[in-house]
């Protein structure tokens, strides 16, 4: 154990070497037996500890506690003022103000979508209408290549011309 090691152990375990861990105690005592410097370190450490133990730190001024508490209360009040309490009606109003443009857009888009859908999916002609149309066509040649004979519900029946085309 060097004198430097001994100094480190002094600040780690204190000046009473008998309280040091057993592993270090023997080497420390051996060093103290032969080193005046080591013994001086112990004496200085002991005197310093006694002097500091007798010293009293200044205590806080009497008003400091109240000052701190007042400062914290002020912080709490300031925080509350930056986040004012909002009434339920005000919250609803705020919500509506925030949401109404989106709501109007949604309704408009919905109406437009329905309108486009209705226009694109026009109602199919009824069977009677198809028959009427077929009968009208039957009275007239189709491009001179044949005649419309009728309508079987799915297809318009056409009579081909004499060439079988």
């Amino acid at each position: 154990m060097t004198e430097e090691d001994f100094e480190i152990l002094l600040v780690r375990y204190g000046h009473d070497v008998s309280l040091w861990p057993e592993a270090d105690r023997g080497a420390a005592r051996a060093l103290m037996a032969q080193s005046l410097t080591a013994r001086r370190h112990v004496a200085e450490s002991e005197a310093l500890a006694a002097l500091l133990a007798a010293d009293h730190l200044p205590t806080a001024p009497s008003g400091l506690r109240d000052t701190v508490m007042a400062a914290v209360n002020q912080t709490i009040v300031a925080a509350a003022q930056t986040r004012p309490e909002i009434s339920l009606s005000a919250r609803i109003l705020k919500f509506c103000r925030t949401v109404w443009p989106q709501a109007v857009s949604f309704v408009a888009a919905s109406v437009l979508g329905v309108a486009v859908g209705v226009a694109d999916i026009a109602p199919l002609p009824s069977t009677d209408q198809v028959y009427d149309q077929a009968n009208d066509m039957a009275d007239n040649p189709v491009d001179g290549s044949g005649y419309v004979l009728g309508y079987d519900g799915d297809d318009i029946i056409v009579s081909l011309n004499e060439d079988g085309e």
Partner: protein, 192 residues
């Protein structure tokens, strides 16, 4: 009033109290204030002088109120964490301003000693304080935490944000310098 609860009235641990403070509990804050007001004021006064110490203490407690949620129980005791806040606030003040002479410390008295005892006590405290003032601030803080606040070396290292070996090196250097400065004191038996 809720603020009038004193530390003596509460058996709650610091850990419980600081957790409550993190949730906005003013009563818990008041208990911690009573428990630590003198301790951190004494620590700060020896680092920055009495006048600056008042501001440092106020700032430290405000920081505790605002940042209590940052304290983590699994990272160690509350006291080293709080003293680190105080230490950092004091260091900021030291860097901004020259330290106040320690002559002012003589005005802080405790008990009712005789005039002779009071004078000797005052001289000793002033001399010790002056000797401490000669130390670099980190060495001074290390001495304050280990000798006055009863911190273990590990806790003091945590408060100063250094390793344990670094803390021990600070204490060795501080002890060497204080031994030189206080050798004069030891020659005068009335002061020791």
């Amino acid at each position: 009033m809720v603020e009038q609860v004193t530390a003596a009235d509460s058996e709650e641990t610091d850990d419980i109290l600081v957790t409550a403070v993190a949730m906005g509990d003013r009563r818990a804050f008041a208990v911690l204030l009573d428990r630590y007001n003198d301790r951190i004021y004494g620590f700060a006064a020896r680092l920055v002088g009495p006048a600056e110490a008042e501001d440092a203490v106020q700032d430290a407690f405000l920081k505790l109120w605002n940042d209590a949620k940052r304290w983590q129980a699994d990272k160690g005791r509350f006291a080293p964490w709080f003293f680190r806040i105080v230490y950092n606030l004091c260091i900021d003040r030291i860097r901004r301003k020259q330290p106040v002479p320690y002559d002012d410390l003589a005005e802080f008295e405790s008990g009712d000693p005789t005039p002779e005892e009071a004078m000797a006590d005052s001289m000793r405290r002033t001399t010790v304080a002056a000797a401490l003032e000669q130390l670099p601030e980190r060495q001074r803080a290390a001495v304050m935490l280990c000798y006055y606040q009863g911190f273990s070396n590990r806790e003091a290292a945590e408060a100063l944000d250094v390793g344990v070996k670094g803390l021990e090196a600070l204490l060795v250097r501080a002890r060497r310098q204080l031994a030189k400065q206080l050798a004069v004191l030891r020659q005068d038996e009335s002061l020791v």
